[in-house]
């Protein structure tokens, strides 16, 4: 019997379940390595060479190089792991989250100050706003 996944119809949202976790294992473990200052330095000196030390797919490496966080998440990344890349780049959590929404940094910040993204129209895929 297939597992119950009631969260697949939530718009703009990928739930980090066992399947995503398996897909993203090495991508996330690479991110984890950036918690050590020495590794951050080596990564920044030659990103490609550092990525090639990990058993990641080419797609995952390209997504990291492009800092395409939506793509990283589709390929099994989890935001708490990916945040280590942001920290290495000197980006805040708000800058990282905003980068996934298609909004500019300022637009996103203003949306949050204005009370955040409304839940109305954002509960189900295909829901009318």
């Amino acid at each position: 019997m297939p597992l119950d996944k009631p969260y697949l119809d939530v718009p703009g949202t990928t739930i980090f379940d066992a399947e995503q976790s398996r897909k993203g294992y090495w991508l996330n473990q690479f991110c984890m390595s950036l918690m050590k200052a020495d590794n951050r330095t080596r990564f920044k000196a030659d990103e490609r060479a550092y990525l090639d030390e990990w058993a990641m797919t080419e797609d995952q490496k390209q997504a990291v190089l492009a800092r395409d966080l939506n793509r990283c998440i589709a390929l099994g990344g989890n935001i708490y792991f990916l945040a280590k890349i942001g920290a290495t780049d000197g980006k805040s959590f708000q800058q990282m989250a905003g980068s996934m929404t298609g909004m500019s940094e300022e637009e996103y910040r203003n949306m949050m100050i204005g009370g955040g993204r409304s839940i109305e129209g954002n509960r189900y895929v295909g829901e009318r706003k």
């Binding site: 009631p6 066992a18 473990q29 998440i73 989890n78 989250a97 929404t101 949050m112 955040g116 993204r117």
Partner: protein, 283 residues
């Protein structure tokens, strides 16, 4: 006999820690957040606990994908603030309470909750930001802390019902400890927020305030709410709120005692990507 006298609930947004550490608390953006904790800091001084049992989640800091314990209790003598990628927060080390922690581990496992026992762990913002919010910036934290980490990173996280029942088991464990200790139990994380994907930035005031209401008056019905409701209504990271149910489950009214007294309630949007919620309940 040890006893749980109060529960504290608060968000643990990392940007709050950064604002404190960088001296930005007086800025117009941050002022309303920290003002919401002025009462709490005084309350902590007036009601100093002997031990804090602090329920939080690790954010891919101590636990990578190598090991993902659902419930992990810290039984170490001390814990260092973690380097989460920005360098460690400049806050005091966290002193543990190995004796009470080991006692709770043994008692709770014997009540059928399979805890992971952790003797070496760095603690991230999930644990240190609540301490900063409640205690300010002291040279050392006011008392020993027992860290209790819950997996809310990889789905499925424990259900609300299981969290509430675990809190009840922790209460029984604390009350069977012979030393006369005043214990606070803290539940942290939330409130509504989503940090990923095109729906990032989601905030749901209505959900959050209904949650706060039910945390006060009707935790049993909140415990029946399934994961998907948190994810859909409060954002993918809003699921952290199930951890509040562990602390709530340890309050006296769920063991036949009187309803708790609400000492403080606070809600503010935003702190970075997140809605900040805070409650103090006394037995």
């Amino acid at each position: 006999m040890a006893r749980i006298t109060a529960s504290v609930f608060t968000s643990h947004v990392p940007a709050i820690g950064a604002a404190l550490d960088l001296g930005k608390t007086g800025e117009p953006y941050w002022q309303p957040v920290f003002q919401g904790y002025d009462f709490s800091k005084q309350w902590m001084k007036d009601n100093k606990p002997d031990v804090i049992f602090l329920v939080f989640n690790d954010h891919a800091t101590a636990f990578s994908l190598e090991m993902i314990p659902t419930f992990a209790i810290g039984t170490a003598a001390e814990y260092q603030p973690a380097d989460e990628g920005w360098g460690p927060r400049p806050v005091p080390k966290v002193v543990g309470h190995p004796e009470l922690a080991s006692h709770i581990a043994q008692s709770v496992i014997q009540q059928d909750f399979d805890l992971t026992i952790v003797n070496k762990m760095d603690v991230d913002h999930g644990l240190t930001v609540p301490l900063s919010l409640m205690c300010g910036q002291p040279q050392e934290w006011p008392c020993p802390v027992i860290p209790f980490a819950v997996n809310v990173v990889q789905y499925p996280v424990p259900s609300g019902r299981r969290c509430l029942n675990l809190g009840k088991a922790i209460r029984r464990a604390v009350e069977s400890f012979d030393q006369d200790l005043n214990v606070h139990i803290w539940g942290t994380g939330g409130m509504s927020h989503q940090l990923q994907g095109p729906r990032a930035g989601l905030i749901n005031r209505e959900f959050d305030n209904a949650f706060l209401d039910r945390m006060i008056d009707d935790p049993e019905s909140q415990a029946a709410v399934p994961h998907i409701d948190y994810v859909r209504e409060a954002g993918s990271e809003g699921i952290e709120l199930v951890m509040w149910l562990i602390a709530r489950g340890a309050m006296a009214d769920l063991a036949g005692g009187p309803k708790p007294t609400v000492k403080h309630r606070f809600y503010h949007v935003p702190a970075s990507n997140t809605a900040v919620g805070h409650l103090i309940l006394e037995n």
